[in-house]
């Protein structure tokens, strides 16, 4: 493997998801996971999280701040274009999930936005939020639809929050991407450049859009690591269900029982 190939692989997979991805809003509604996240590697994860935050402050955030200065229309077109490029991966995962409606939406969006949206620069298919909304799919979600749990929570270096299932899912996604195959079959640097540039731009765009929310979240969190972990888990569960209603947080009922250690005094106990 040439150094170029190696770099291509590392960069492409490493930048696939940024720290900011944890706060990407999804247009979904519904309950939330009532169980806590399994995190056997918490000590290591916390160290990596701190490193990621430091890297974010020095590298990603300055670029995201610059990027934020661009006019809104240009930023939207950049995002629309990047989303349109993801069509093959999303479509493959729609099909692997047996989601025919999702697959037809993906194809419909691609054709509409490529032809009428000038190569994907405009999200005509979703016109004013009333049409077919962008709904990303990835192999981690596909595994989730197939019944796989998240497994242990993982904080990946640079990449940010993940879990075993979603990390494994990155590999098939990488090979489902036509740009990967173009790069493998080409001697030129162009596909590599495109692949890397695309991921970098995605990260900066997402980070820039979530700048305020992330800073807010960090400032008001007692334990930012735990907050991000919880949000990542909830968001992924939501995406796997495609926003369908889940049985959310149960209401705790307070029942009274006799606690022997307490001198027989009735004590309220929490039942979840």
């Amino acid at each position: 493997m040439s150094i170029q190939r190696f770099l291509q692989f590392i960069m492409a997979s490493v930048l696939a998801l940024g720290l900011a991805s944890c706060a990407t809003p999804q247009n979904t509604s519904g309950g939330a996971a009532a169980t806590e996240v399994s995190d056997p590697l918490e000590d290591v994860n916390r160290v990596i999280f701190d490193v990621n935050l430091a890297l974010d402050k020095v590298i990603v955030r300055p670029f995201a701040t610059l990027y934020a200065e661009l006019p809104g229309g240009i930023k939207d077109s950049i995002r629309n274009f990047l989303r349109n490029l993801k069509t093959p991966v999303i479509l493959a995962n729609n099909l692997l999930q047996g989601d025919i409606q999702g697959a037809s939406d993906t194809v419909g969006r691609f054709l509409t936005n490529t032809i009428m949206g000038l190569g994907g620069l405009f999200d005509v298919a979703n016109g004013n939020g009333k049409g077919i909304a962008y709904r990303p799919e990835d192999f981690g979600q596909t595994l989730g639809v197939w019944g796989a749990g998240g497994g242990p929570y993982l904080m990946l270096p640079i990449l940010g929050p993940s879990n075993l299932r979603d990390t494994v899912g990155m590999v098939p996604d990488y090979f489902m991407d036509p740009v990967t195959w173009w790069g493998i079959n080409s001697d030129r640097d162009l596909p590599t450049g495109i692949a890397i540039g695309r991921r970098v731009l995605e990260t900066i765009d997402t980070r820039s859009r979530n700048k305020k929310q992330l800073e807010d979240l960090e400032a008001t969190s007692l334990d930012f690591y735990a907050t991000v972990r919880s949000l990542y888990h909830q968001q992924r569960e939501n995406m796997i269900r495609n926003g369908d209603e889940a049985e959310g947080a149960p209401i705790p009922s307070v029942n009274f029982e006799i606690d022997e250690d307490d001198g027989g005094k009735a004590k309220a106990a929490l039942v979840q």
């Binding site: 009532a34 806590e36 959310g248 209401i251 929490l270």
Partner: protein, 205 residues
């Protein structure tokens, strides 16, 4: 034939008259409750000239009337509640209330006329109702979907959880709090101290 129809009609009327009145579940419908709260918040909290203390005081009184703070506090402490003393649970509730006020009251100052619309109501578990709503955004981004999970309270409702774009504030907060407690040898008092310290910090900023 006619006779039997009439007889069953009489039977039906008798049943209808004698049947005990269906208890009125709630005087106020869940969506009307959310509308009322939203209107109240926009009227009372969003004026940009409102002094900080006044905004906080008004928000606090809305919080006490509209939120199911007792069940929320119980849920947030989860299994650790059993290990906490009554005094600690009371202190936790107070610190939590202060924290919600310090974290959210000032945000209403940046309200800029975004449209808030209440949508459908659906049943949650254990008598809860879930009211969906959406808040338009000023920058032309798609509206934010907010679900309100309500618990019955007298002839009205109380907010138990707010789910923003599928992310439950209650679950997020519980996960965060339990992480703090766990990292302090299961001591609820450590969480209370941490919340108080944060309240202090937020009040200065």
């Amino acid at each position: 034939m006619i006779k039997s129809t009439r007889r069953s009609l009489i039977a039906l009327i008798t049943i209808a008259v004698l049947w005990p009145n269906q208890p009125v579940m709630a005087g106020e419908s869940p969506d009307a409750f959310i509308s009322r709260l939203a209107t109240g918040a926009i009227e009372n909290l969003t004026s940009p000239d409102l002094p900080q203390e006044e905004r906080q005081a008004r928000f606090r009184s809305m919080l006490k009337d509209g939120f199911d703070l007792e069940n929320v506090a119980n849920f947030l402490l989860g299994p650790f509640r059993r290990k906490a003393s009554e005094a600690e649970i009371d202190a936790f509730r107070l610190a939590l209330e202060d924290n919600v006020v310090a974290t959210y009251a000032w945000r209403f100052a940046s309200y800029d006329g975004q449209a808030f619309s209440v949508g459908t109501v659906r049943d949650g578990s254990r008598g809860q109702k879930i009211v969906s709503s959406s808040l338009s955004q000023s920058d032309g981004a798609p509206p934010i979907v907010i679900d309100w999970r309500l618990t019955p309270h007298g002839d009205s409702w109380r907010i138990f959880d707010i789910v923003v774009e599928g992310l439950s504030m209650l679950v997020t907060q519980r996960d965060e709090y339990s992480a703090v407690i766990r990292r302090n040898d299961g001591k609820v008092s450590a969480l209370i101290d941490a919340i108080k310290a944060q309240n202090e910090k937020l009040s200065k900023s």
